[in-house]
Each structure stands twice: as structure tokens, then as C-alpha cells.
């Protein structure tokens, strides 16, 4: 999946994606960006991800620790708190419900488009 994503849609689910990635394993900011890009979100920029991680930390959904890096300054690793796990479960359920509803509407048959009638 390398096509660009709607920034507004992405903004809405970025927190959920971050929670899921951090639930898989704790990571530092740049690593999270790389993992998002590997997952296909190639147009996600660091400038959006780092503040989003800060917001999760402020909301008590992730906790952080500094780990010395062999290649430079210490890295700030993020991992989920129990509240983060709870938010992930709730967010995943909401997303699943949301996409199911949207898919149900999009799956309905359509009448012929006007240009096809002519």
C-alpha cells in the first residue's frame, strides 16, 4: 500500500495506529515513523508523528523511558500504559464498527451513472 492517504482520514486514525504499533513493541519516535512507512503509510511525516506521541503521553496512554543509543543521543522509548491498552481496544472496536458501516453503504448497488446513460 503505497498510494497517498487522505490527510484528514489519517489524522483521525493516527493515534490508533500509534497505539497499535506501540502495543506490538515499544519504540522511539523515528522508529515508529519507519514502522508506519513499512506498513504503507509512506506519506506520514515525522512532523505529525512526534507531536501525536507527545499527546498520547500527555493523556497518560503511553509512558516513556530514555535508552542510551550507540549512534547518538539517548532515545526516548514509548510503551503503552494500561490506559493505553484500554484506549486501543476501544479505538479498534470503534474503527471496526465504523468501517463495517461505511462498507455496508458502499456495497449497495448504484443506478447507472449519468454519463453511462447517454
Amino acid at each position: 500500500m503505497t498510494a497517498s492517504h487522505d490527510p484528514q482520514l489519517l489524522k483521525g486514525v493516527l493515534s490508533l495506529l500509534l497505539l497499535h504499533l506501540l502495543a506490538e513493541r515499544e519504540s522511539y519516535g523515528y522508529e515508529v515513523v519507519q514502522r508506519l512507512q513499512e506498513a504503507g503509510f509512506t506519506d506520514v511525516l515525522e512532523g505529525s508523528v512526534y507531536p501525536a506521541l507527545t499527546r498520547l503521553e500527555r493523556d497518560g496512554r503511553v509512558t516513556t523511558r530514555l535508552v542510551p543509543s550507540p549512534s547518538g543521543p539517548a532515545r526516548k522509548y514509548y510503551r503503552l500504559t494500561p490506559a493505553g491498552w484500554q484506549a486501543l481496544r476501544a479505538g479498534s472496536a470503534t474503527w471496526t464498527r465504523h468501517t463495517a458501516t461505511v462498507n455496508a453503504v458502499l456495497a449497495r448497488p448504484l443506478p447507472a451513472a449519468p454519463d453511462e446513460e447517454n
Binding site: 522511539y28 519516535g29 523515528y30 515513523v33 511525516l45 515525522e46 512532523g47 505529525s48 512526534y50 507531536p51 501525536a52 507527545t54 499527546r55 500527555r58 493523556d59 497518560g60 496512554r61 543509543s69 549512534s71 547518538g72 543521543p73 539517548a74 532515545r75 526516548k76 500504559t81 494500561p82 490506559a83 493505553g84 484500554q86 484506549a87
Partner: protein
């Protein structure tokens, strides 16, 4: 392919970090330092991966990044401004003292102009409501002065002005919101 990070690249990264830092003065000091450290570490790592130019492009401009951090830390909507409060809180006493000194000096010069060898006690009432009277004791044109302190109203105006300029009531609200968010998450 790994990129070597030269001193020029480090300077460019430091410039962005510094510019970002200058725009985060409304955050608590600890949070600002942590942000600075994290952005620098991530940028250095990204620069090693994709080059400093691309790393800086991907992080966006310092203004946009600072705005996002401020929204992340303090929430959407109107915010307080510690910088504005600091400016008004710091500059108001300087400006007022300059004004009071200038008016007292003008009074002093007036007395000396009227009588270069003035002797006696003269009282300058000062700017009404804002300062106490200043008493000049002249001996052959040489004066010593006493008084001219701020009135309680001046202190009150200073404090109210500082709070108003920094919209500091929003600080209490944002802290309460932050506590609520953590309590809600917990």
C-alpha cells in the same frame, strides 16, 4: 543507504531545534527540554538514514512543528502565553519607574530653574493615584529626595496587566484539563 552527518548538517539540525525551542516557551521547562532532546535525537537518526535535507523536510518547519507540539501539550483553542506575561510583567516596572523618575527629575529641574540656590522642602505630588508624593530637600540648590513609591493601585494594575497580557487564567484551565485527561485515561 546510510549518510554521513557533517558539521554543516549538525548545524542545520541545531538551527531547527533552536528555532523550535524558541517557540515552545509556553510549555513547562521540563517538557520543553524533553521535546528539544527528542527532536534532536530523532533528526540525527533520520539524517543518518535519509540525509539531513530530507530529514528536515519531513519534520516540517519549526513553526508548524511548534504549533503541533503546543496543541498536543495544551490542547486546541485559545491558550495562555507565558512569554507575553513575562514581557508585560518585566517591562512594566521599567517603564513606570522611567516615567516616575522623568517626572520627578522635571520637577527638580523646575525648582532649580526658579531658584538655583533653593533651600527648603518641596513636595512633588507625583502622578495621581499611581505614586506617592516625592519630597525634595534642597540645600543651596542641591537636593535629596524621598518617596515616590508605587501605590497599591499601581501594583494592582501591574498584576492585572500581566495576567491579562498572558491570559494566565487559561493556564489554570489547561492544567485542570490535563489532570482530567490523565484521570480519564487512568
Amino acid at each position: 543507504m546510510p549518510h554521513a552527518i557533517g558539521w554543516w548538517d549538525r548545524l542545520r539540525i541545531e538551527r531547527l531545534v533552536w528555532l523550535l525551542d524558541q517557540q515552545l516557551y509556553d510549555l513547562p521547562r521540563q517538557s520543553r527540554l524533553a521535546t528539544r532532546r527528542e527532536v534532536r535525537a530523532n533528526l540525527l537518526e533520520a539524517a543518518g538514514d535519509v540525509g539531513a535535507t530530507e530529514a528536515l523536510r519531513r519534520v516540517g518547519g519549526s513553526r508548524q512543528l511548534a504549533h503541533r507540539y503546543l496543541v498536543a501539550e495544551l490542547g486546541e483553542g485559545p491558550r495562555h502565553s507565558l512569554i507575553a506575561a513575562a514581557y508585560v510583567g518585566g517591562l512594566t516596572p521599567l517603564a513606570l519607574n522611567f516615567l516616575f523618575d522623568a517626572t520627578a527629575a522635571a520637577y527638580h529641574r523646575g525648582v532649580v530653574a526658579a531658584d538655583p540656590h533653593a533651600t527648603g522642602t518641596f513636595t512633588w505630588q507625583g502622578i495621581s493615584h499611581l505614586q506617592d508624593p516625592t519630597t525634595f530637600s534642597f540645600v543651596d540648590g542641591q537636593a535629596s529626595q524621598l518617596g515616590g513609591a508605587w501605590t497599591p493601585l499601581t501594583y494592582l494594575l501591574w498584576i492585572v496587566g500581566t495576567i491579562a497580557a498572558g491570559r494566565l487564567w487559561r493556564l489554570a484551565r489547561s492544567r485542570a484539563g490535563r489532570r482530567d485527561a490523565v484521570a480519564h485515561a487512568g
